[in-house]
Structure formats: structure tokens, C-alpha cells
């Protein structure tokens, strides 16, 4: 997957748009409640699961977003399954 940092948009490796990360509450991953024995977390404000994309492959993320376009993801720039581009969008 490709993550465009300047716009927070996630694309497939072939360049197809998957989703734009946006949290109206500006939640930090570290503030979220953990599930027992799960890499994912839950948000008490919007009552949704926040999926840790670190160990998900592209198909899993695409399937998840296809089923629920509002699904929330956590992305770390340094995770191995994501290539980050557009860090500054220099003009």
C-alpha cells in the first residue's frame, strides 16, 4: 500500500484509492482502549474498532473498507507494508 502523508490518503500498490484517514476527534492511537489479545483497538467516542493496519495485507484492508467505508485504520509511517510518499508536498 501507498500512504500519501500530506493528504492522509491510502492507495493500493497499483494506485487505486482506498481511503482518506480522518478522525474528527483527533484521537491518538495510544489513547484508545485495547482489545484483549488483539492488535486492534476500540474508540469510546465513536464506538468503532480502529484496525491496526501493521499486520494487514492490502487485500484485507481493501476488503475491510469495501465492507465499511467508514472503517478506521491506524497507520504508522514506519510499518513494513506501507510505502509513504508526499511527506512535505514541496511546491
Amino acid at each position: 500500500m501507498i500512504f500519501k502523508l500530506a493528504t492522509k490518503e491510502l492507495f493500493s500498490n497499483k494506485g487505486a484509492f482506498i481511503k482518506k484517514l480522518h478522525c474528527p476527534y483527533h484521537i491518538k492511537w495510544q489513547e484508545l482502549d485495547s482489545f484483549k489479545s488483539s492488535a486492534h483497538k476500540t474508540c469510546s467516542l465513536c464506538k468503532k474498532t480502529i484496525y491496526n493496519s501493521t499486520d494487514m495485507n492490502e487485500s484485507q484492508v481493501v476488503d475491510l473498507v469495501a465492507r465499511d467505508p467508514e472503517a478506521c485504520l491506524k497507520i504508522d509511517l514506519n510499518q513494513n507494508n506501507i510505502k509513504t510518499v508526499g511527506v512535505y508536498e514541496r511546491t
Binding site: L5, Q30, L45, C72, D76, N78
Partner: protein, 158 residues
């Protein structure tokens, strides 16, 4: 976890004055670029193709083990020597937090678009700027709550 009020930032004089007309108090601040966020770049010309490339050193290491070397003088010429620059662009050299009239001293808020620079972690050799942080209204200013353990880690949720 409690839902916090989001404080908007205006970065253009017209937007600041429009917000003032609507009853917000603009808390105007000058931008002060943080040295830690500066990057280095030089421009190399390929002597065979005449195309140019930007690089931060004579050997450039990128994500996924990509390495590009510009050390071969038969192939590459440094046409713009390395220099330091601030990589972020903003509409103006100042900006304003739009303070709502009903904000209470001690209220914790989200500063959605930070005016001040805070280090948000490193991605290869690039230092990332934090975009938003929590803060507490002191009655005169926002006391920003920055924790390098949670805010300096290059992680996004949404």
C-alpha cells in the same frame, strides 16, 4: 475519553478578520520554524541524460532498501550544492487560533492546525511536523500538551 472542542486556525488575514466578525478572538502568532524539522537537499545532474535529481547526500537511502549513489563523478555532477531548507509551506508567516467567546479557563481543547512547530517523529531521514495537539486554555493563551512518547511517533488514526 472525552470529546474535546476543536479550535480552528486561520492562516490568511481575510479568514482571521472574518472570524473576528463572527465573534472569535484571534490569537495571532508568528510562525517560528523549528530547526529540527529542516531538511538538506542538493541537486545532481546526470551527465548522460542531463536529467536532474534531488538528494540529501551523495548516497541516498530510501524506504525498502532503495539506495542511490551520486558518488560517480563520471555520471553525476552536483549542480546545486547541499543546503538546508524548511520543507513546510504556509499561506502566511503568521496565523491565528480562533478563540471562541465561551471558552473557559482550564478547558482542554484540540488545536486542529498547530501554528507552533513540534517534532512528530522521524521517517527515514525526514523529520515530521505534528499537525494537531491537545492544549489547555490558560485565559490568555493555549498551553500545549506535547508528549514526545505519543506525539513524536509518526502514527495516524482515521
Amino acid at each position: 475519553m472525552k470529546e474535546l472542542r476543536v479550535i480552528k486556525t486561520a492562516r490568511r488575514i481575510d479568514d482571521i478578520n472574518k472570524a473576528a466578525e463572527l465573534g472569535f478572538t484571534p490569537l495571532v502568532k508568528k510562525l517560528k520554524p523549528l530547526k529540527k524539522l529542516f531538511n538538506t537537499v542538493g541537486v545532481f545532474r546526470n551527465k548522460n541524460t542531463n536529467k536532474i535529481e534531488e538528494a540529501e547526500d551523495y548516497v541516498e537511502y530510501r524506504q525498502y532498501g532503495d539506495v542511490t549513489s551520486y558518488e560517480d563523478e563520471n555520471e553525476w555532477e552536483l549542480v546545486v550544492p547541499f543546503y538546508s531548507y524548511y520543507p513546510y509551506k504556509f499561506a502566511s508567516d503568521y496565523a491565528a487560533y480562533l478563540v471562541p467567546s465561551d471558552i473557559k479557563k482550564g478547558e482542554k481543547v484540540i488545536l486542529e492546525d498547530l501554528i507552533q512547530d513540534y517534532y512528530g517523529g522521524s521517517f527515514w531521514s525526514q523529520n515530521i511536523r505534528v499537525e494537531s495537539l491537545q492544549a489547555i486554555w490558560t485565559g490568555e493563551d493555549f498551553s500545549i500538551l506535547y508528549d514526545p512518547e505519543t506525539d513524536g511517533v509518526c502514527t495516524w488514526v482515521g
